[in-house]
């Protein structure tokens, strides 16, 4: 039997969930069950894993390669939560010159700025004048290998 340490676990996917992403009409409980809690083993649902606040969660698609260093590739889908606090070091979707972009939010000295994962791209400082603002916080990236599904 192969000993492949890169696979952490195998899960069977629940394919009978009828919710049409990302339309959610009821709350989804957050977090992973702790061993101390009384819980019933249930079918695993990606919605539960990836989405804490359905009303504030959106999916977006990435165009470009400037965030490869963070593991975000062109064509990937990002799960973006608008209800989360934008904090230092977090990857965010931000409005830059009227467009939606994906950057890492950094606090440098006294100002906030948006950086790409690639040092070749200049950081942009967020100011009142340049109309930069955070649109939402990226919680996960979905990378699908091409040609399979």
């Amino acid at each position: 039997m192969k000993n492949d340490s890169s696979i952490a676990g195998l899960y069977s996917l629940d394919q009978t969930t009828q919710r049409l992403c990302p339309f959610f009409s009821s709350g989804i409980s957050a977090g992973f069950p702790s061993p101390a809690e009384d819980h019933i083993d249930q079918k695993l649902d990606l919605n539960e894993l990836l989405i804490r606040n359905p009303a504030a969660t959106f999916f977006v698609r990435v165009a470009g390669e400037s965030m490869i260093g963070c593991g975000i590739h062109h064509g990937d889908i990002l799960v973006v939560d608008r209800s989360l606090q934008a904090a230092h070091g977090r990857i965010v979707v931000a409005i830059l010159h009227g467009e939606l972009t994906v950057k890492r939010l950094m606090c440098r000295a006294d100002s906030w700025c948006l950086e790409a994962a690639n040092p070749a791209y200049p950081a942009v400082v967020i100011t009142e004048e340049n109309g930069c603002e955070v649109w939402g916080v990226v919680t996960s990236v979905i990378h699908q290998f091409p040609g399979v599904l």
Binding site: F23, A55, A56, F59, R61, A63, E65, G98, L100, V102
Partner: protein, 421 residues
């Protein structure tokens, strides 16, 4: 306990939805067009400032819009319905005592809080919806729903209030009602307003001070209710009924799987007609029609798809509802699928007569007499004695939507794109 209602009203809702994924549109003149790109049903403040009237047919505005670089969109019901659901979900989590009134309005109960607490709470609600869903809202507060609506209008139109306005101080109420046209009062439709004006009542204050019995004779119990509400007597409680009453559903599992579009059409027309009867029986009109189809042969492969179309103004007219359902059906249907079930749901139910005051489209003559006759005959002789034919529906298949934006939140192929370059 004293009632206090808050009306949460999204600002230029359709425009705001389009702006969420296109921030470059903020501050720009934007228009949204009705079904078939017929007429203007939403305008940004900048488009209003250019003088483009609500309800104006698109062909008349087209050249002007081009000259002034106005951004134009065809209605994107999938997007608006989804964002509306998110707004409502966010409100419901904050305040369980809430009632969805329409696609972009909800009433909340603020009873038990003092004036300052109400203002803070309303400000918090505004901020929460803005952050979570990206939609700006205005909030009007009053001791009755009717007064809350008037307050909401002020909150929306006058920037100095920061989006929240409370109308509970008696002296202030009268001075504002004096400035409010009687036709702008919720519950007073165009005809009632005309009737009142002919009798010298042109402002809301005069209506508030009118004799209730006299108003009842003139405008029926609905009019009398408005008078009471203007006087601070709440007649319309928050509808805390269980979800079932907030919608009317007719659906059926087919005896045999259905694969042909023509057969589905027939079934859907039948369900729409039946659901419309229920609507009329309850004296209601609907703001949104949801159509859903379930396909698949076994529990493992069962798959449901649904879409919603918004109806403005609200309606209970069978032909209009059928036309709306027929517009949705082709986009849900996939040839080769074996359909097990179809269903129709009406949401955003409002009592007949309580329409939104803003004119979305040239008034469609809702033939109440025809509907009444239809219902009477079917009641006497059996459900489907008179049915709507299909021939007139054919041409509504291909809906013109040349300016529709992407279904950003309901279609994997139309997700918003963020740049990483």
């Amino acid at each position: 306990m004293k009632h206090v209602f808050a009306l949460v009203d999204c600002n230029n809702f359709y425009v705001s939805c389009e702006r969420l994924f296109r921030p470059a549109l903020n501050g720009q003149p934007v228009l949204v067009l009705s079904n078939n790109d017929g007429c203007v049903i939403a305008r940004s403040n900048e488009a209003k400032a250019l003088g483009i009237p609500m309800g104006e047919p698109w062909f008349r505005v087209q050249a002007f819009a081009r000259r002034h670089h106005v951004h134009v969109f065809s209605s994107n019901y999938a997007l608006y319905g989804d964002l509306s659901a998110r707004v409502m979900e966010t409100l419901a989590r904050l305040e369980p005592a809430m009632e969805i009134y329409s696609i972009d309005e909800a009433f909340l109960s603020l009873a038990g809080l003092d004036v300052e607490a109400r203002r803070d709470y309303a400000a918090a609600i505004r901020a929460r919806v803005r952050q979570y869903v990206g939609i700006p809202v205005s909030i009007g507060i009053g001791s009755t729903k009717t007064l809350a609506k008037i307050a909401g209008n002020i909150a929306k139109k006058q920037a100095c209030h920061d989006g929240v306005f409370e109308l509970t101080d008696t002296a202030q109420i009268d001075s504002i009602l004096e400035k409010t046209e009687v036709g702008d009062v919720w519950g007073i439709g165009r005809r009632s307003a005309e009737t009142l004006r002919r009798r010298g009542i042109t402002r809301a204050l005069a209506l508030k001070q009118a004799d209730e019995t006299w108003v009842r004779k003139l405008l029926t119990v609905t009019g009398a209710r408005v008078v009471k509400e203007l006087n601070g007597v709440s007649c319309l409680s928050l509808d805390k009924a269980p979800p079932a009453r907030k919608s009317i559903v007719t659906s059926r599992t087919f005896g045999q799987a259905v694969t042909a579009l023509a057969d589905l059409r027939e079934a859907v027309i039948t369900y729409v007609s039946r659901a419309a009867v229920k609507l009329r029986e309850q004296g209601l009109e609907t703001n949104a029609l949801h159509l859903f189809l379930t396909s698949g042969d076994s529990a493992l492969s069962r798959f449901s798809r649904g879409r919603v179309v918004l109806l403005a103004p609200a309606t209970s007219s069978t032909p209009r509802l059928i036309a709306a359902a027929m517009e949705l059906l082709p986009s849900l249907y996939q040839s080769g699928c074996r359909y097990q079930k179809a269903g129709v749901m009406f949401t955003g139910l409002v009592p007949r007569g309580y329409r939104q005051q803003s004119l979305f489209a040239p008034v469609v003559a809702e033939n109440r007499a025809l509907m009444g006759a239809l219902d009477t005959i079917n009641r006497k002789w059996g459900q489907e004695t008179i049915q709507y034919g299909m021939t007139t529906m054919e041409k509504s298949w291909a809906m013109r939507q040349s300016h529709r934006s992407q279904a950003y939140t309901t279609n994997w192929h139309e997700l918003p794109v963020v740049k990483a370059n």
